[in-house]
Subunit: 428 residues, 4 copies
């Protein structure tokens, strides 16, 4: 069979053929060349320009390795490989950056978007027609793969299951998943293994904590559940440590978060009117905003040249009492937050949009619901909880990421003015 060997800086090289090769050539996957894997983190970590494309390929690679290690049936291998490859095609510009804003308006996550593209022939890409290539559903059909199954795995479902914000925020975890779902959306899944390794490689941080070959060698299938052999417990511990470090050092680095908040505020209004923005690439989105309002233009210019807002006021996460928690819960609603921001700007005597509030709690759960979960079972004759084997799991669950409950940012020259009025505005 014809094949391609694609170089990957992380995994060495990846061989693709058949259905995988055809899927890679679709515009939906090629578009991911233009989506930064870690949003605006490249402004702080100049090496972090890697894309959702290389991550999709890498997730496909790891998922296939897991499927091979577990000696799954050929059909299952294909299903897992396809789902891994397509799992991120629903991402908007700058990956998770706009996701929370979009979700509060349309109640759709990027996995919902992916699911729609895969099963409904949705014209996600404007130029689809002139490109005159096969659509994803057409390719899947050609290879006899049911798009519904792909779609379910990507959404983390086994049987009908609501992969929405509700159960996460309610603290419920997925109860009915099985091994195929676990490979794509579990606690030690291909997606997470690839992104942690890849983001480490490109940021230059903590590369190597995760011992991928060892993990692959200690994953086992018992009945319909993926579990880890006790030999692998320390490798899972290390994975949890890596995740925790990457979240606090990279994804929730304060400057990264400020940049992303700036972009989100610039986008919010347009998002309401044009849901199609979510099918843009990073640069199309920047170009779009540049032609927009003065505020949008200003934000893009600042981001382009890294003239970021500065921290003006911070409420540490571990100092929050019940009362305050209620206030921040309300601020998670974009309209409420904007109202407060407007109030803040007015009191500080600056233009609207030049003091921004970041209340990350729910946001983080949308982008990474696994952050508080350490659910992979250990199997030593019977299923055990990971926390029975190591206290690290529990300890890391308590580590607050990010360390702030609220962060207010503003241009350097307004910093002091904003700082002065913050406490009053927020807590009254």
């Amino acid at each position: 069979m014809d094949y391609k060997v694609i170089h990957d800086s992380l995994h060495g090289s990846i061989k693709v053929e058949g259905v995988f090769l055809e899927l890679i050539d679709t515009p939906e996957l090629q578009r991911l060349h233009h989506i930064h894997q870690t949003g605006m983190a490249y402004l702080v970590f100049p090496g972090a320009n890697h894309t959702r494309f290389s991550h999709s390929l890498g997730t496909h690679f790891i998922a296939s390795k897991i499927a091979a290690a577990l000696s799954l049936a050929d059909e299952e291998k294909t299903l897992v490989g396809v789902s891994a490859l397509l799992h991120d095609i629903g991402h908007g510009p700058f990956s998770h950056t706009l996701e929370y804003a979009f979700h509060t308006i349309y109640n759709l996550s990027h996995t919902d978007q992916a699911s729609a593209i895969i099963s409904e022939n949705t014209p996600f890409i404007r130029e689809r027609e002139i490109l005159n290539t096969f659509t994803i559903p057409e390719i899947l059909e050609k290879y006899d793969i049911d798009p519904k199954n792909v779609s379910k795995l990507i959404q983390g479902m086994k049987v009908p299951y609501e992969w929405t914000l509700t159960p996460w925020l309610g603290g419920k975890s997925i109860s009915t998943s099985n091994y195929l779902t676990q490979i794509i959306h579990g606690d030690v899944d291909a997606d997470q293994l690839d992104y942690l390794l890849r983001d480490s490689y490109y940021t230059g941080l903590a590369y190597g904590i995760i011992d991928l070959p060892y993990l692959l060698n200690t994953l086992e299938l018992h009945n319909d559940t993926l579990a880890i052999n006790p030999k692998g417990v320390e490798a899972v511990e290390a994975l949890l440590v890596a995740r925790s470090l990457m979240f606090s050092s990279v994804y929730y680095h304060h400057a990264v978060r400020i940049a992303e908040t700036m972009l989100t505020r610039a986008a919010e209004e347009s998002l309401k009117e044009e849901p199609g923005l979510m099918s843009m690439s990073d640069w199309e989105f920047f170009s779009y905003l540049e032609k927009g309002s003065d505020y949008q233009k200003d934000m893009v210019t600042r981001l382009k040249y890294r003239q970021l807002f500065k921290r003006a006021y911070v409420v540490p996460a571990d100092s929050v009492d019940e009362n305050e928690r209620a206030i921040f819960a309300e601020l998670a609603d974009p309209e409420t937050r904007k109202e407060k921001e407007r109030d803040l700007c007015r009191k500080a005597g600056i233009r609207e949009g030049y003091a921004l509030m970041d209340v990350p709690e729910r946001d983080i759960l949308l982008s990474e619901p696994r952050i508080t979960r350490v659910g992979i079972p250990v199997y030593d004759g019977e299923f055990k909880k990971l926390s029975d084997y190591t206290p690290t799991a529990a300890a890391l669950q308590k580590r607050r990421v990010p360390p702030w409950a609220l962060m207010v940012s503003a241009p350097l020259k307004y910093k002091e003015r904003v700082e002065k009025v913050c406490e009053k505005v927020v807590f009254q």
Copy 2:
């Protein structure tokens, strides 16, 4: 002094302070976040999304290490560090991609552009004014650094010396350089060490051939010349091997080259009218073309979704006789080449612009004049040529990069039609 420690995936971390910190914050350097270091190579090597920004920082890092290893005076250290940091600010979108086209119109290379920005306060960035930051000449003045010296080092000059295409094509090499120039523009220089290492790291190819710490330890200063200790000869050999492999595998990979040819053709007409295009970032340039002619729009769409032209006809470099060499020399002139392309399209019965000729010989000399040079001296009591120590140098000089003298590409569906008429059109 206030300092920043910037993570770099290649060098670990880089400490910047003083003049370097201020320079990094200028829009000219921040713009480099949006210029792919290896042009369109990311379409073939999906990890190669690294930018001229990280390369500039890395070159600064290596240049400073060399300066420290040679115990240069503080003033020299600063000059070398600044020159390394700024050496690439004159790059147009997609780095070297458009350089040859631009050069044939305006007779300016990217180092000339850099020089202009550094010494003349040229308003390279449109949004400079609203950003309200210091310019590079202002910062240099503040720290008592003569922009002329920076400018000279970047252009590879010691004393008045024409760093233009002429001497390279004439086979002349720099005769009057000294150690400061050598660190920035020599045969084992900071620029080259960083880009080879960095491009290896991000493409995933041949990483590790170059033994940077060893080279740093065996560089020595004798009189005003940088030389290598005989202990380091094998490390230089390995550098030459790495360079040769990277050129044939990455920079002149046929598909990368086709993509870059497509972009160049789409840009050529506009370039003549708007020299300012060279100050755009990659994405601004893509956006610009997208709003242009039908042809430009089509090319951008194809590049965006990786629908590249295919090789239709290739003349291998090592089969070219005198007569043919003369023909290719003429084709190096863009107008002659375009005429031939038009002829080709007419004869093949396809629209103009859909069969493209790539004649790389001069082009490569503009982007990397060092490719045929192995000039670092070895010092073992007296200066020796590297070729006295190892035959590898000479062998690699003979290795043809790229392997074609002419490559014609066209969309897959026209491939056969174009193939048929090529020989006749080219050689008559």
Copy 3:
């Protein structure tokens, strides 16, 4: 000056000249080529054959980097570089393996031994005479370095300070150290940075957690104290994580520990009679034992071919009550422990020496007193404790390494017999 560039797989390459070059050529340092850095860990991690020689060189390299980063005076740089290079010359065969046994007999640690060699011209190496080379004190004198200062740094002293077991076991930490001592024997010192990185590299475990370049860039000198800038806190966190993982995965891996217990028991009797055994290399020691008693011969044969004892009985560290703690405290005394072992063998009906008890608590403090310490201060205008910045420090201090308070091992065929009588013998 004449120099050598020595390749080091970890740090790339290390340049040595002057006093360092002469010291490296002494038999005391060359002997370290034959001492495994991680004792018998190579039986579990087949890559871990690295030696105290490469570690000494690496510690020298890092200490010199720290000294340069802090811009110390040339004299201090030399002192620190020499101390780092010599800090491990007092190690007995298989590094820490026999150290506790030796210490309980002679009340000497390996740093005491090093100190003696450096300042007293002790004939540590039998073949010294025939080698006809300069001694370490002679070389130090030639370069005007006071051996007393080297000796003090290696023993962790600033002013008179008892670097013995007592303060550690009493939970006291060093109170009077200053920056020179800290570089050699602090909480983020050159020794520890090198061994964690090196042991990771050679075992293939968790390589890359420690961000050496970043740490080097964030160490600062305030008054006479080495402190970390707040920017570096997460890098120190990662160091603590790495240390904890390496201790539980490698140094206290149960099989490594069993092998080391076997070797210690084989050595104990001879050690009492021949303190000179501590100047042997690994292979000289193996050869010595092979010519010894039947028991010694048997142990060496088993170790040579990896026929290790197996765990027969384990008391987990976190289940120990006050009463039991007292029992284990007594077992830390070798004579008491041996008495118990004899009792155990008798009751199990096996030959003496074929059931061994490992009570690691004090042992670990001798080999790594830093294990429970996280003492590097953070400086953000004033000195702060690391634990004020991150909860990780405290969490890791609680992580029990090793996880057992007592482990009894025996040959596979005796395992059950031993298991049966253990509880009774130990707790009565």
Copy 4:
């Protein structure tokens, strides 16, 4: 099935079970923990303490990967996996160091020794009896594997073929091998891939030139021949470059070679009387010599503390004429060489054994017959020679390794005396 996951610093981790697990536990394989993979290279590259054990495991790992990539039958996979694991069990102390000397006496190579152990129940290990474990033939029988086949693959045979010095020196290459042999003993085989990667990793030289994942993805089976896809040609080129660099930088580094010559001379006499020396480990061999003659004792002491002989006289390989070639050919015979050495010592007025001649030509062919071969075919529809695709292959064949035809070494203090008489003694 019960399995072990062994950490390997190079390949991450290796899973072993069944027959492989049982073989690993035999004393023949465990002995390899005590044989340095790169002989005495650790005296120049202090990281190079890796062993034949880790190399055997790694070769097994790569061979299994190749077998899987080619979708071989289960039986073939096992055969290839076993052969790779056992291919080096016949190595004497310090790997190739003594091989040439041993071969000239007994006409046996290390693969002949391995073959004998595998198929004849030879009591290679003295302590075999008391260890009371299964022998290799017993284990193979238990798993229904024919020792003859293993033995043949290890000796590079397909059908009866004389794997001796004769065909190599005659310039003949193996003509009848097929894919199973090629995996174990071909031009891109598992053995070579592992040792080049591993030796790079541990010496710290040129790590990463070889792109193992890419090679694995481009190996193909056509009829009964292993070939490389044209996509993989550059990866094979890089392998050849790596091999050439490792030979000149490491294996034939002049100081490494001097150390090995010293050890060989110390061993030669004893070797004749006690062929059993070849079953010793490195340290047993050192101990044996230490109890031997004064000369042997002196050599061991010098090697232990790195007091090596120095180069006194060198004849470069590329300056040798026909006449001289004949002289060196005679010197390849140990007796002739010794006679000359004696003559040299007499004329220089020093004790016998203190001026040593190294004539490496035949020696290198015994330790690495592949050095001049670049025989893997390229398959692009038909079999092509590698040299049809790239000139690198031919160029590297011409690169002389080692660069000397003759090197005479002596203790530093005798260097001048020896130098003076060399030319006369050698060429008359």
